[in-house]
């Protein structure tokens, strides 16, 4: 009896200590930036490249003496939460960020998660930078989400126009996984292609993300004889397989996507068949990368063993947060100040050669400035590396 009582008390004690003492003691001059995204399970690749970009940059800043905002210098700490691609967990992650007193969060990676965390973010004054495209996240009355990359309905038209003008593309086909994000992107892509006067020859074929053989999926698409095959919202895991199957079925036209890809994955999965594949990237191609970008890639590779080209597009969100805070230090504790300065904020882009600047855009897509202006870099894959096809800007 006594033993039981003791055990029960002990367990209760351990539990309550575990539950209620998790508040980390905030050391002076540490600036916490959150990350809520998927870093385990099937979609782990999306979140991991994201989280590692942030951690690389943070370690770099801390190693070189910290980041100066206003008259204080901060160490940057990345607080990461794995939402397992579950919108319910994503909410818990955002709550955790609020608990840690964090006001700036990168993520979530998918549409449903980004929509689900909105109430929590707005109630707790958190600005978050999702990698999800639905316009409802960024249009008023929503106010706390900032699109962290170029949306497909922005990059799509640019790519298709280039293809139409430069490569004589007339007929386009779309394939997408039957999940929310890719399907939404396909709808956007089809609309953009039609607006340009292109003929859409196939836009209804979908596949399960767990498909192990894409030949049956692509058979009807290839038979519709498009000049350009668009892989809407394709994940880096599926891209090489789709390319390979299409080519093996005798498809000779162009293939493109509006998501970021990894060169090594393409090389391993499709080999030479991937040559000519067009995708969207950041700024790490040799033509436009600055020394800082090169150093970033170097540090990332050193820290994690292997670089992931998807990170090119994901290096920006943290940079934007820090630069904007620098512009108005009040933002550190107050998202309202951050929002205010967003309209006028401007800083040089350290990662890309030329006179590109960091600023917030999105007036034409969302009616308010709720998107980071990252260069729209369109790459083409060639023998294990990307080459820049053209660079465009989004307003």
């Amino acid at each position: 009896m006594n033993k039981r009582l003791f055990l029960k008390t002990a367990i209760a004690g351990i539990l309550s200590v575990g539950l209620f003492s998790g508040v980390a003691l905030a050391a002076n001059e540490t600036l916490k930036i959150g990350f809520v995204g998927v870093t385990s399970g099937p979609a782990a690749a999306w979140g991991i490249s994201n989280q590692r970009s942030m951690e690389t940059r943070a370690a770099w800043i801390n190693e070189t003496g910290g980041y100066k905002i206003g008259d204080k210098t901060y160490d940057i700490e990345i607080v990461a939460f794995d939402d397992q691609k579950d919108p319910k967990r994503a909410i818990a992650g955002m709550e955790k960020m609020a608990q840690e007193g964090i006001h700036y969060v990168v993520g979530p990676n998918v549409d449903d998660g980004a929509a689900a965390v909105r109430p929590v973010a707005e109630q707790n004054g958190i600005m978050y930078f999702p990698y999800a495209f639905p316009k409802s996240l960024y249009e008023a009355p929503a106010s706390n989400a900032v699109l962290g990359m170029v949306a497909n309905y922005q990059s799509g038209p640019a790519i298709y126009k280039y293809m139409k003008d430069e490569k004589g593309v007339k007929k386009v086909a779309f394939v997408a996984a039957n999940e929310s994000d890719p399907l939404s992107q396909r709808t956007g892509g089809v609309a953009a292609a039609k607006a340009l006067g292109l003929e859409v020859v196939s836009d209804s074929v979908t596949y399960q993300v767990d498909t192990t053989d894409f030949t049956p999926v692509l058979l009807p698409v290839v038979r519709s004889k498009p000049d350009l095959l668009v892989l809407s919202g394709v994940s880096p895991a599926n891209a090489p397989q789709l390319i390979r199957s299409a080519r093996e079925l005798g498809y000779t036209g162009l293939i493109s996507t509006e998501t970021a890809q990894d060169a090594l994955v393409l090389k391993e999965g499709a080999g030479d068949l991937a040559n000519g594949f067009i995708s969207v990237g950041g700024a790490s191609t040799p033509e436009i990368a600055t020394d800082m970008m090169r150093e970033f890639v170097e540090r990332y590779t050193k820290m994690f063993g292997e670089y992931n080209d998807e990170s090119n597009t994901k290096v920006y969100a943290l940079e934007y947060i820090l630069e904007t805070l620098k512009a108005d230090p009040a933002g550190i504790t107050d998202a309202a100040a951050f929002k205010k300065i967003m309209d006028t904020f401007e800083a040089p882009n350290p990662y890309m050669k030329g006179d590109a600047v960091l600023k917030y855009v999105g007036m034409s897509s969302f009616g308010q400035k709720r998107q980071v202006a990252v260069p729209l870099v369109v790459n083409v894959y060639k023998d294990g590396a990307f080459e820049t096809l053209f660079v465009a800007e989004v307003d």
Binding site: T39, A45, N178, D213, P216, G271
Partner: protein
């Protein structure tokens, strides 16, 4: 049409091989191995490591995948499933264990092999093109043939070897087999190892075509479950039939429903439910399970 059949056959061969291991384990121990897909992924990564990182021939990778997974399966059976089965009041409890193992393997795969999609270079180049009626790359044909060969070897083994016969007796009636002097513990372990080994070999085979990533495990398990339901749980021939049927359904369905893309799989799933409502034990299943 020829193309559709060829695609269906190729898909069916790989599916059947995945389902075989799962159904073997189920027939012997009544365990629905949720971790089967993860084992398949693990096998794929072993072959990847051997071929792409160490530069050894494909066949070495394939054999090593089988061995590594076989050993893993034997250990899992001996130290995890056996004690749990012995002590649990409801045998479904093993599902939690199997799911725990699936999570565990997911974590290990992520830590060991990373989050990226991996693949190895094509084993043979070139595409068979029969008058544009059947287009089939040679490596795909080779893998399809290897898969069918593996299925045949497995059936022969179950039919004619002493171990195979013992396992079949065990699958039919555990108690009777025990009375007949079959070492139930030993053969359960061998059976689990064999099932896991099959998963590893499929992983190794497919890494050369579709590549591998850590997300493929869970969905692969679910697909394999569907196949063994179609054929009848715990029936070897049922699993093979289920694999080929699902392969054909996908191949045909994707062509027929191409215009309504989003509903192809919905159709496949709904027809599976209707089929089972009419035939509650699958094509050739026994009324057990």
């Amino acid at each position: 049409m020829e193309q559709v059949l060829a695609n269906g056959l190729y898909l069916g061969a790989q599916y059947a091989l995945i389902a075989l291991g799962l159904t073997l384990i189920f027939s012997l121990m009544n365990v629905l191995n949720f971790a089967h897909g993860q084992m398949y992924v693990f096998g794929g990564f072993v072959t990847y490591t051997v071929v792409a990182q160490l530069g050894l021939p494909f066949i070495v990778g394939l054999i090593l995948s089988g061995i590594v997974l076989g050993v893993m399966g034997a250990l899992i059976e001996k130290y995890l499933f056996r004690p749990v089965i012995a002590r649990s009041t409801r045998e479904e409890s093993t599902m939690l264990l199997a799911a725990g193992i699936a999570f565990f393997l997911d974590a290990v795969i992520l830590l060991l092999f990373g989050e990226k999609q991996r693949g190895i270079p094509k084993i043979i180049d070139g595409v068979l093109n029969w008058d544009y009626r059947i287009i089939m790359p040679y490596d795909r044909i080779l893998i399809g043939v290897l898969a069918i060969a593996a299925i045949c070897i497995f059936i022969m083994y179950m039919q004619y070897s002493k171990t195979g016969r013992a396992m079949r007796a065990l699958a039919q009636d555990r108690v009777a087999a025990e009375l007949m002097g079959v070492d139930v513990k030993y053969y359960s372990m061998i059976g689990f190892a064999l099932g896991a080994m099959l998963a590893g070999i499929v992983g190794g085979l497919l890494v050369s075509i579709t590549g591998i990533n850590l997300g493929m495990g869970g969905p692969a398990s679910i697909k394999a479950f569907m196949m063994i339901m179609i054929g009848g749980a715990g029936i070897i021939s049922g699993a093979i039939a289920g694999g080929f049927i699902l392969g054909m359904m996908e191949s045909v369905g994707l062509l027929v429903f191409a215009a309504y893309g989003d509903i192809t799989y919905l159709m496949i799933f709904v027809s599976l439910i209707i089929f089972l409502a009419i035939r509650p034990h699958g094509l050739m299943g026994k009324p057990w399970g």
